[in-house]
């Protein structure tokens, strides 16, 4: 690979990794929100039973 090819690939890789990292962060957040929704649902059910 020539230096030109390496640097071009690196620039595109940076963008790809950046977007991927963002998706990963959002996926983690989504999991946390899912857990919180499940927790609230459980509390509502407990309240209804009690």
């Amino acid at each position: 690979m020539s230096p030109s090819e390496k640097y071009t690939a690196a620039a595109y890789l940076v963008v790809f990794v950046g977007v991927l990292a963002y998706v990963l962060i959002m996926a983690t957040k989504l999991q946390r929100l899912q857990r919180e929704v499940a927790d609230i649902l459980e509390r509502v059910r407990e309240r209804d039973r009690g």
Binding site: S4, T8, A10, A11, G18, I40
Partner: protein, 225 residues
């Protein structure tokens, strides 16, 4: 923007970016002067323009918050600025890589556009320091809105710096005579720009939905307590 559904927006962003990558590597001509590294231009410049668009959108929402006070404008302004910082980071990273192969250095302090973009970027990074150092509420929303509006002044300065600058190390592509590139290059550039703007719209909607869901859950927890 609300009329377009998120999956459609995400599909449009994926499609536009996929097509733009294909066009960049299989259709756009290889530059005679810079060679293959010139292809960084097709992502670097649209990302930079998208960062400007994010900051401008954030400032517009900040202005709306101060002017008409619609519900959620403060959150929308915050999310747009957050997106702007992400696209700004990518601009600086791709720009540095392009500078290294083209100019032989990672950064040129003598170039006004680079320095002004960095100032704009750091200005909006400091926005988060302000936001998280004040308790949530109307006072924080007002302070953040005023700060976001001050920053928008830097956008035209940063954009015009290259034209006002005496050092011409940074290439001038868009002049008063139009874009300085061939028709095919300009076409590929426009597709890449559309892809980046659609990506911004998608990520903006995703983050906004997440923040709103977070706020609703917090409210629910308080109601149940």
């Amino acid at each position: 923007m609300k009329a377009i559904r998120l999956p459609q927006l995400a599909a449009a962003a994926t499609g536009a970016l996929g097509v733009s990558i294909a066009l960049i590597f299989f259709y756009a001509p290889i530059d005679g002067d810079q060679g293959l590294s010139q292809k960084i231009f097709y992502f670097h410049v649209p990302i930079a323009l998208t960062a400007y668009a994010c900051f401008a959108w954030g400032a517009w929402k900040a202005l709306l918050h101060l002017w008409k006070r619609p519900e959620g404008a403060d959150l929308e302004s915050y999310v747009a600025i957050h997106m702007g910082v992400i696209f700004g980071s990518l601009t600086l990273l791709t720009g540095s890589i392009w500078a290294k192969i083209s100019w032989g250095v990672w950064w040129a302090w003598s170039d006004n556009q680079l320095v002004l973009f960095l100032v704009l970027f750091l200005f909006y990074c400091a926005y988060f320091m302000l936001r998280y150092s004040v308790d949530p509420g109307p006072a924080r929303a007002n302070m953040c809105a005023v700060y976001a509006l001050f920053g928008v002044v830097l956008i035209p300065v940063s954009f015009l710096a290259i034209r006002l600058s005496r050092s011409f190390i940074h290439p001038i592509v868009f002049t008063s005579h139009g874009p300085q590139m061939t028709g095919s290059q300009f076409f590929v550039f426009c597709v890449a720009l559309a892809g980046m703007l659609t990506l911004f719209a998608t990520l903006y909607q995703i983050e906004l939905a997440g923040k709103r869901l977070d706020a609703h859950l917090k409210e629910l927890r308080e109601l149940l307590a």
